[in-house]
Amino acid sequence: MTEFIYLYRGGDSPTSPAEGQQEMQLWMGWMKELGEKGHLKAIGSPLEKTGKLVSGKTKVVSDGPFAEAKDLIGGYTLVTASDIDQAVELSKGCPIFRRGGAVEVRPILQMNM
């Protein structure tokens, strides 16, 4: 089994309280399913939409966001899967796609080759 990180990018905000509640419940259902299938390594966390960017040799500090809203990373989850194909397949169940968002699937670099 290999570890992967899901980086959740973008996705529109719900337009009503009822829609928001439904959205949240879909996510919780999806996370639960990942857990039940034994793929959930760490559920991860959501990220604030703002922050600071420290960059360059002079360590310039600037305000976020660092990407367009549609590309902004909103959170992450660590999963295990047999290979990248399975990790990708599993990510397709994520409710983020209903709202135009994306999941970036990145293998965690393995130390023991």
Binding site: P14, A18, M28, M31, K32, G35, I43, S45, P46
Partner: protein, 432 residues
């Protein structure tokens, strides 16, 4: 927020009330409006939206907290305090609270105070009355109540009323402007003003209920929700010493007595059934009993409102376990009273239907022919359906078929369409 950190695992724990977000939305908006002033309604709505977005993000990962309402309220409070600190002088807030907000000593306690449950309860009622502003039309009042207090988005309201999104948006935006210009929320402690506006509030709740019960939306779930919201808001009105008048009791009774019939009116397959051929074992007899009890509570004083009469009619139906047991004479008499209290072509039509049950279809058709303002019913499918039913009963199949055909052309949703198609078929075939 220590006590709020305790969470249940994603997907675990008690099921969330499906209306939780909507109801909390209304509660947070009124608390924040109290703080910011009614002219800053949009700001209050932004803070609420923000609190929801945070809740959704965090709960997605960490699970729903043990007390989701408290979590949402705490988040809204934090956002409000931040905002007031940041923009203390950039805006004007609720005049009564300005000095409390200006001082760092009193800011946080003031914010906490407006979020106290009893304060929110009062503010919801004030908002309900404020939404029924005399400068607003009845439909705008209902839309505003749904939007602010029940947490329905403009899109959801347009869907429920089967009206255009743009038109609904315009109606709500305009209504909000009127509300914002009213400077101050309605005072629910001043008896004369309260009593003056109470009928408008009752009327708005009545219309909200009716939209759910008779309305055009195809979705049973949506309609059920509108009925439940109307009952919830009416219960709120009954908790206020000035609000619990005989009229409000009658209104609450009428809603329960009608809601009790909902499970028979639309069956599990989503098919509509007329009152005459509903499976009455499906009726909610507990709700019916509650309704009768409320109707008894409404029988004080001398004022008879339209709600008293309508509830009494529903109670007569509720007493009949079988349609044959219905006391049609009592119902006709009650419709006579209703025509005096609040005449309308719809009431006259219902009276004619009861007459047909009591004295036969010919009599019913005569009564329909005598309705003043009959042309106002020309767009109403059940006007033609009622005539179709009477024609069919007196054996005039062809005429009946034409009437049901006219009704079918006016059907407002697939449920009505299916129902009327069946009636058209019944006229062509051998069965009734």
């Amino acid at each position: 927020m220590d006590e709020l950190q305790q969470t249940v695992e994603p997907g675990q724990g008690a099921a969330l009330d499906p209306q939780l977000f909507r109801h909390e939305s209304g509660r947070m908006v009124v608390a924040l409006t109290r703080l910011f002033g009614i002219h800053n309604l949009a700001l209050a709505e932004d803070v609420v939206q923000d609190a929801f977005c945070r809740a959704i993000e965090v709960w997605k990962f960490k699970g729903v907290p043990a007390n989701p309402s408290a979590w949402l309220m705490a988040t809204a409070k934090h956002r409000a305090v931040d905002l007031l600190r940041r923009e203390r002088t950039a805006r004007t807030y609720e005049p009564e609270l300005t000095r409390m907000i200006e001082s760092e000593w009193t800011l946080v306690p003031t914010v906490h105070e407006v979020f106290e449950p009893h304060a929110i309860q009062d503010e919801q009622l004030r908002m309900m009355f404020s939404c029924c502003h005399p400068r607003l039309r009845e439909d705008a009042r209902v839309a505003l109540v749904l939007h602010i207090l029940c947490g329905f988005s403009v899109g959801e309201i347009a869907g429920a009323f089967v009206s255009g999104l743009a038109a609904t948006e315009k109606r709500i935006t305009r209504a909000k402007k009127v509300l914002a210009q009213s400077k101050k929320l309605f005072e629910v402690t001043e008896a004369p003003e309260f009593q003056k506006r109470l009928p408008d509030v009752q009327r708005a709740l009545y219309l909200l209920f009716n939209e759910g019960y008779h309305g055009a939306s195809a979705e049973t779930a949506v309609r059920g929700e509108l009925c439940r919201e109307a009952m919830r808001l009416t219960a709120m009105l009954l908790e206020h010493p000035l609000g619990k008048t005989p009229g409000t009791y009658a209104l609450a009774a009428l809603m329960r007595l009608h809601a009790a019939r909902l499970p028979g009116r639309v069956d599990a397959a989503g098919n509509l059934h007329s009152l005459l051929d509903q499976d009455r074992s499906q009726w909610d007899w507990t709700l019916m009993k509650d309704g009768v009890a409320l109707l008894e509570l409404s029988a004080t004083g001398s004022a008879v409102t339209e709600y008293h009469v309508e509830a009494a009619i529903a109670a007569v139906h509720g007493r009949a376990r079988r349609v044959e047991d219905t006391d049609w004479a009592a119902i006709v008499e009650l419709y006579d009273t209703l025509m005096k209290v609040r005449p309308s072509p719809i009431v006259a039509l219902n009276r004619a239907i009861a007459m047909a049950q009591k004295d036969g279809p010919e009599r019913g058709l005569e009564e329909i022919g005598a309705i003043a303002d009959r042309e106002r019913l020309m767009g109403y499918p059940f006007y033609f359906a009622a005539m179709g039913e009477m024609e069919l009963r007196r054996g005039m199949r062809e005429t009946a078929g034409r009437q049901f055909g006219a009704a079918l052309a006016l059907a407002r949703n697939p449920m009505e369409r299916r129902f009327l198609e069946e009636r058209v078929k019944a006229c062509a075939g051998g069965d009734r």
